[in-house]
Each structure stands twice: as C-alpha cells, then as structure tokens.
C-alpha cells in the first residue's frame, strides 16, 4: 500500500509455509517450468511476476494440484506445504484444495445466489453445524471480502448479477469462507477497473494477517503495492526471488532489471 516506503518495508520472517524444490512441469512435449526452487513464508503476500507464458500461472496451479485436471500436464519435483509432500500418493487433491484456496483470473461465481456461492465451500466441507453457523460464516466471509455492505440486502440474488469487481470479491469471499491456509490468486484484478482493483488490493493486504497469499500479476505496480516478496519468472525459469523492495530497487539479475524497467516482456 505504501509505495514510498518500498525499501524499508518490514518483512516479518515467518515460518516457511510452502517449499518447492526442483519443480518441473511438462505440457505434452513443452517444458513449461524448469527446475524451480522457492520457499513461501506464512502470513506474507508473495507476488509472481514475469512476461506472458513465463510459467508463473502454471507454477501457481501446481501448488493446489489444479494441473491435475489437465490431461497433458505432468509435474515433477518436490512441493511441500507445512512439510508434507502434496504430490505424495496418499494426498488427496480434494483435501489439499480445501486447504489451498484459489481465486481465478476471471470472476467465476456459480450461477447461484450470493449466499449459496459463499456457503458452497462450508457446506461441502461440513464447516457449519447449524443454519446460524452457516449464516455467520457467510457474513464473516463477505465482511472480510468488503462485500457485506453491498450484498447484505441481496443475498438471495444471483451472484452473476453483481458487477465485475463485486463478482471477484464474491469469489474471494467464497474462497476464504472455506478457511484455507493458503490463498492462491491468479491475476485476480486483470478483468477489473482501477477502482475495483484498489478494493481487491486492500483486501489482499488485510488477508495477509491470516493467510499465506500467493498472487500472480502482470502489473508490476500491483506487485510492488501488495507484496512483501516477489518472484520473477522468465521462460519457465525462476530468475530471481527476494524481498519486493529489493527486486524493484536493486535487482541482481540483468533480466529482472530489463523487465522491471520495461525493456523485455
């Protein structure tokens, strides 16, 4: 939020939430991710930046095994969340995804009411014992997604009837209602106007207090505004990964510098 204090932004070095080692992803014959090592801290916003097709979204989708739904995709390497290998045969991707929530590039509310959209996750995971509990969860999620005031009088109206920015905040509310430990966001603001983008960014900053947030973005300003750590991807390689302030003011790799200054990408 505070661009002017980029360099001295405080980074609480928390426990490592996600650690990835030697990750390779293949789409058929295409080698999309090449030997990526990264450690993502808890209660931190980590931004993945890089030009289109650099593999940042693909890597993000490895973290909750969404690549499993693509037939041609093959993931190698070691990804651990809280020390547990998520690609282990004993791990069920369904359980993993309940722990690692995801918000997509395009708002994708279900064609259901606003209430049912938010209650979807809690219902399938049995998080609420009573109707009152569920109402409470829905209200909390909508409040934290800064949508409660706009939505409280129309909870039974279809979620698809909201504006683009509201829809994206609804999708965020839907994701946090499931109480994940990690929230993955794949270019969550690319379909939004600047005002809605601002609201979502504020929200991301608040979410940091509870979650480890990983955000893929095309906007370097956005990465600078919301993240504490930034990873720069280029052609499937993780080129540089450091504190956001450092990446934007004093990049070590010439490719990072070229990208930051607008010469490539």
């Amino acid at each position: 939020m505070k661009d002017q204090r980029l360099t001295d932004r405080e980074v609480d070095m928390q426990d490592i939430k996600i650690s990835a080692h030697g990750v390779q992803v293949f789409y058929g014959d295409t080698h999309a991710i090449k030997d990526v090592d990264v450690e993502i801290a808890d209660k931190t916003v980590t931004a993945f930046i890089g030009p289109s097709g650099c593999g940042k979204s693909t890597f993000l989708r490895c973290l909750n095994r969404m690549n499993d739904t693509i037939d041609a995709a093959r993931v190698e390497g070691d990804i651990r969340i809280d020390g547990e290998d998520i690609y282990d045969a004993r791990v069920d991707p369904v359980q993993l995804r309940a722990k690692v929530g995801m918000v997509f590039q395009k708002p994708n509310p279900f064609p259901k009411s606003i209430y049912d959209n938010v209650a979807y996750g809690p219902r399938i995971h049995g998080l609420a014992k009573t109707k009152g509990d569920l109402d409470n969860i829905v209200e909390q999620a909508l409040r934290r997604a800064a949508l409660w005031n706009e939505a409280k009088d129309r909870l039974d109206k279809p979620g698809t009837g909201l504006s683009g920015g509201q829809q994206q905040r609804l999708c965020i509310a839907r994701a946090i209602a499931t109480e994940p430990e990690v929230l993955l966001m794949d270019e969550p603001c690319s379909a939004l106007d600047p005002i809605a983008t601002g609201q979502v960014e504020e929200l991301i900053d608040e979410l940091r207090s509870n979650y480890s947030v990983v955000i893929v973005t095309h906007s370097m300003q956005q990465a600078a505004r919301v993240s504490q750590k930034t990873a720069f991807f280029h052609l499937g390689n993780l080129v540089e990964y450091d504190e956001t302030g450092k990446i934007f003011t004093n990049p070590q790799d010439p490719r990072t510098e070229s990208y930051i200054s607008g010469r490539i990408g």
């Binding site: 739904t69 369904v94 995804r97 997509f104 979807y120 996750g121 839907r174």
Partner: protein, 522 residues
Amino acid sequence: MSGLLTFPLALLVVLVLCIAGYLLGRRRAVGRVKGDTRALHSRPVHHGWHVVMATLIPSFAVLVLWAFLQGLVSSVYLGTTVADDLPELALPESQREGLEDEEIAVREGARRELFLGNVRVLNEAIYGAISSDVISLPEIEAWDAAETDVGGELRSAGQIAPIGVTPAMQEAALKLYGFERTLSAIGPLLVMLLAAIGFIWALSRIDGDFRARNVVERWVMGLLIFASTVAILTTLAILAAVTFPSITFFREYGLFDFLFGLTWAPAGDTVGVPEGPGGEYESLLGFLPLIWGTLYISLVALLVATPLGLLAAIYLSEFADRRVRAWVKPALEVLAGVPTIVYGLFALVTIGPFLQAVVGTTIMPNTVSVMTAGVVMGMMLVPFVSSLSDDVINAVPQAMRDGSLGLGATPSETITKVILPAALPGIVGAVVLAASRAIGETMIVVLAAGALSNVQGLEPNPFGAVVTVTTRIVAVLTGEASGFDSIDVLAVFALAFTLFFITLALNLLAQRIVRRYREQYE
C-alpha cells in the same frame, strides 16, 4: 414426338444463352474499358451474371407459369368452344316430364360436364395415339363418328377412350387437340424469345458505369429470402391443409365431444348424414383415449430416456477420456440414425415377448403394450437426450469446474452442485424436445403399442395395449377407410391438427428454455 421436344429444346437454348451470356458479358465489360478493370463500377463477373439473370429469370418465370396455366387455359378454351345449345346436351323430352325448370337446368349442366369430361379423355387418347405413332392426325380427322366407332379404334390402339363418341365430341376433341398443340408450340417459342431479348438487352447495357453488381446482389438476396421462406411457407401450407378439414369436423361433430369423448369407435358415417337414430353420428370419435395412449407411452419413453441419456452425457462430457469419447459418441449417434421402423420390429419381436415372459400373461395378455413401445421408444430417444445434454454440459464454462474444484469440492460434488444446476435449463429443453418427438413418433407405436380400431376409456395397465393418436391416423388413412366424405377421415385431420399444436407448443417451450439458458453465459 415434336411436341415433347420443344420445352426441353427451349430449356437447352436458354442454357446455352446463359453460358454464352456469362462469357460474352464478362468480355464485353472488360472491352468497354479497354482492359482497365479498375475503371469498371462492377467486376466483370457481375456483368456476366447480370446477363445470365436477364436471360434466365423472365424466360424461366414464363416457363413455370406456362406449365401451371396450360391446363387452366385449355379447359377455359374447351368451355367456350362447346356451344350451350348443342342438341345432344339438351335433356331428352322423355326425361323432362314433371320436372321444374331449375331441375332441368341442373341435369343439363351435369350432361354438359359429362360431355366435356368425355372430350378431355378423347383428347388424351388422340394425343396418346398420335405421339406413339400408331395413328396419324389426318386419319383421325377422316373418321366420321357417325359411322366409325372412334372410341373403339382408339382403344384398339392401346388408349383409354370413352364409349359412344358422337360427331360433336370428335369435333370438340380435335379442336381441343389442335389448341393444345398450338399452346405447347407457342410456349417454348415465347420462352426462347424472352431469353433472347433479355440476353441482347443485358449485353447492350454493359458499360463502365453500369451498376451490375447492385442488380446481381439484389437478386441474390432475393434468392436467399426465397430459400428461407420456402420452409416457413411449407409449414403454413401444412397447417392450412389440416386446419380446414379440422374446422369442418369440429363444426360437424362438436369440439367438446371430440376433445372430451372417452370412446373412439369409427362407424363410417358420411359427413352431414348422421346415421344414428337421434340424428347423431354413429361414429364415436373421442380424443381422450388416443391422447392417453400417446402420453402414457411418451411418459414411459421419457422415464427410460432421461436418466440413461443424462447419465451417458455426464459420463461423456466429464469423465470419458478422449479415446472413449471418440468411440462412444459416434456409436450413440448411429443409434439415433436407426430408422424407427427397425425399432418397431425390435419391440415387436424381442422386447414384447421378453416383457410378457417376465410379467406373465395375466398382467400382459399381448406382446404389444405401453411398456413394449415405451421402453423401445426410450431407447430411441437416449442418443437424442444424451447428445443435446452433452452439448449443454460442455457449454458450462470450464471456470465453473475450476472454481468448484479449487474450493476443494470432489468431481461428483462439482457435477451435482454446480454443473448440472447450471446446465439444467438446457437439459430440460433437451427432454422437452425428446417429449415432442415421442408424442409424434409413429412407426414404433404402430407396431408395438396395439392396433385396436375401437377403444373405450383409459387403459391404466402399463402392460396393456393402447391406441395412440398417430396409430389411428395411420389406420384410418391406410385401412379400408372411405373417402373424404367420411366423418372418420375428417376426424383424422382433427387428430393431426391437435397433435401439431401439442408438439408445436412443446417445441416453443423448449426453445424458450434453451434461449434463457444461453443468455446466462454469453
């Protein structure tokens, strides 16, 4: 033979003119601007097509009109050549006694009609005999009907000719023959002349500034409009063809008695001549038992087709990998291509006896029944439901699946809680369309539902035989049925009319549902 050749010859000439016109038109257009085609308003091709159109359209229009009007014109001609005071048209004195003038006029009118009819048949016979080169025209002209048996001569020449041909008949027939020969000689001539005029006129108009493209494009648009209206006009024509007899029927029999009658028992009454003792029709033509049979079978068919088709669609769109899909989908579509008569045979020889063996003859006295027809019709509708449902399920955006899976939902939760609700309107549309096919289905029910000619009341037993609307239409129109003066035949039109509206309503409903569904994502 020469008479046969002229219209094909005219067509040939028109065709040659068209080809020549196209080539010449193009060349002339280029020539007018000395080879610099950019100076032309329209492309050379347009000029070519313009000549083709000017040659073809008027001449072809006349050709079609001629074919339609020839018969009409010659019958008007015949009416005017035969004098009203021809002695043999008058009613003989012996038959005039005790008759009113009006009655005499009616009878003389009938005699005249008979005379004209004989002349027409004779004319056909003369035409047939001459064109098959058996007898020449001078030979026929030389016959004197007072002495020669003209009809007999023509019959021995292999023609159908009336008995007792009089000199007046012979004279009228020969006149008609001559007139028709002239007509069919003028027709082709006129066609060729118009083609030639159009050809020359269009060629003469070609110039650098001439807007041939606009003319051609306007005609092409006309052609497109024509093509799109033909189907609509056909529907209207079908509607008109069943509506008018139906209205006559409703007026004659009573709309209420038809719609709510519980008995279907045609007795062959003539329209307007009720034969019952109280002046009512003996035929009982109640719609209810028939629509009951139709809806009962359709219901069974849908109960079979909807779950099977839907589950197949879910498997195909959500679980089947590409290789399985490449096999199963075409295989299902082959099922959709099986002619319904084959399904009917299958029902009759396989499913019917099987069901009977399972439930026993006390419940199921015949192999034909609601279940026999319904189950097989359901099979027929499975690919229909599955193919349409597969399409709508595939149309649910991938983002919905991702969203649900991303929240930790299982694939089955994703399908039942997100995808099916989202696709539901489309699926309902598919089922409604299937229902309208089931209601209109004919061959399966003709073979497998039962063929009683009389039914009373509504058969509740699903293993009992029923009669459907379509089977009755088939039976009355192909059976021993009398002509269009029978009330039973008129009733069939009313059946078709009602069926048309039920399926029309269902199709409109399905379209509305499907359209509402589309608006949601696009």
